[in-house]
């Protein structure tokens, strides 16, 4: 555990010295926040809160991209090889990536919430407990997805291609950019298989008080199962050496990591009324069609 802690501290320092992290992890989500709020928020507190839920999702999901690229870079440069000579385990190294990322995500999340409260006159704090739970488990899960990508790709180029594919799916099939409620029904059904949907709808609901406890627990469980499966797969497939190549079939492990979401997707499609709740939540915010059935305290 002490190795993990030592590495976590160093990873945090390295990230703070990295201009790319500051740009992609803090500045870019803020730019999106300003743009989205100005276009879709239009001064209404509920809309600002809804948009903030999407931006928080983008910020949390950003962990995925940063960690995969960093780990592949460390491997290609032979940095991991040097650490392999020490008593540090692959698990400690990967866990430190997740912890460091978590610590780094939180200030960005707080800044975004405060800006919405102060600059955009958002009157709610959302449900702080739900937001905390979802940000915590979401940051860890999407970090672990990034670690899996790093484990199954052999070069930076390959990593970027797979990242782009997965990132695009996360962005557009979750409600993080375009609200899920405006998509055709069949796309909404497909989106229920995406881990990003659980985070996006969870955070949007938590910010607008339209999520029930049951939905948040489902979101947290889905993301937690994804985290455990992804972390273990990335630990098993972890490679220290630049020349140690992953077999082509190793990429199928990305699919294996998605199995929990396949199961949750089936469950949500067959037994849950999540899609109608998402629609109602969206309508209550953007169409003024009255409060949702899960109105929470303000």
């Amino acid at each position: 555990m002490s190795n993990t802690w030592s590495l976590t501290k160093i990873r945090i320092r390295l990230a703070l010295r990295n201009k790319a992290f500051i740009f992609f992890g803090v500045a870019m989500p803020l730019a999106f926040l300003f743009f989205f709020v100005l276009v879709f928020g239009r001064g209404a507190s509920e809309r600002v809160a809804y948009v903030l839920g999407s931006i928080l999702t983008l910020t949390v999901m950003g962990s995925f991209w940063g960690l995969s690229v960093q780990l592949v870079m460390f491997r290609e440069q032979g940095i991991l090889r040097r650490f392999r000579l020490t008593p540090v385990s692959a698990g400690a190294l990967l866990a430190s990536s997740i912890f460091a990322n978590y610590v780094l995500v939180f200030p960005a999340i707080l800044i975004e919430i405060l800006i919405c409260r102060v600059a955009f006159h958002m009157t709610t704090w959302g449900n702080p407990l739900y937001v905390f739970l979802l940000v915590t488990i979401g940051a860890a899960t999407f970090s672990a997805f990034g670690l899996i990508v790093a484990s199954v790709t052999n070069t930076m180029q390959e990593t970027q291609v797979i990242n782009n594919l997965i990132w695009s799916a996360f962005l557009f099939l979750s409600g993080a950019t375009v609200p899920l409620a405006v998509f055709p029904h069949w796309i909404q059904r497909v989106a229920l298989f995406s881990p990003a949907t659980y985070l996006a709808t969870g955070l949007e609901g938590a910010m607008t008080h339209t999520s029930s406890l049951h939905e948040v627990i489902t979101d947290v469980i889905a993301l937690a199962v994804g985290l455990i499966v992804s972390f273990e797969i990335s630990r098993q497939l972890f490679r220290w050496e630049p020349e140690a190549k992953a077999a082509s079939r190793a990429k199928l492990w990305v699919v294996v990591a998605m199995i929990p979401f396949l199961l949750f997707g089936i469950y949500e499609n067959v037994y849950s009324d999540r899609l109608s709740n998402i629609q109602q939540g969206f309508n209550s915010v953007f169409s003024g069609s009255g409060p949702s059935q899960h109105e929470g305290p303000n």
Partner: protein, 306 residues
Amino acid sequence: MSEPVIRVEDLHKSYDAVKALRGVSFEVNAGEVFGLLGPNGAGKTSTIEILEGLRAQDRGKVTVAGLDPQTAGPEFKQEVGAVLQSTALPEKLRVGEALSLFANFYRRHHDTEALLKRFQLEEKRNAFYSQLSGGQKQRLALALALVNDPVVVFLDEPTAGLDPQVRREIYDIIEELKSDKKTILLTTHYIEEAEKLCDRVAIVDKGKIIAEGTPRELKQRSGNTTRIEVRLSQAPKDGVLKTLDGVTDAREFDGVYVLHSSRPPQTIVSLVKHLESVGSDLQSLEMFSPSLEDVFIELTGRRLRE
């Protein structure tokens, strides 16, 4: 006599069709500096990386400090320190942070301040790794290798690519380790490094140890002849250089004629007379005392740097 600290028995390793190691065996005793000397691709790095636990052998047995590097896990890593052929650290990691981080990984470790001082890195403690010169990076790599006060130190080509001044600094550090009675295994293709630093040397070629002993023993094996290297304006006839006075062996490497002579003055006189008789000129002549290079040439018919 105490048990060897490093024991290697019949080590084999292949990379696809390439056989990198073909039955390497040797032992290193406590407090000894043992060198693996050989050209690039001889199998030195494969051997040392198997001993460091970075690679698995195909066949054969290795123990380091009584532990199997492949199966002993973190316990093994607590006992060894290593400098890789090329060490890399995150660019924005500061020197002081790197030492503290690595010190935290080990149960037993040196005071990092003392290490900074010993390796002349005090003024660089706040410098980023990317800001260090090649010599400073190598000094840091050595400091990191010693941070856990290891029983065994592995040095893979520790001075490769460094300028002569920095190389001498690294030699001084290794001499210090030697006087501290550390057990050291180093690989090198520098003759002077092996001769200066090693108590015993194994000459490695094409995945096999072809000679082993103290530098003095190995040089005696080659007959203590002087190496004379000459460049001539015209290529001599085949075999004629071997007939010169005192010459025990003569070979050509890329236009340089390498003569081994038991009586150098007579050889030179004989050579000059021969060149005059055939109308050829002596373009350059260099003489070297007996070295491990001569042993390598004698055993393989090639030079170490080929």
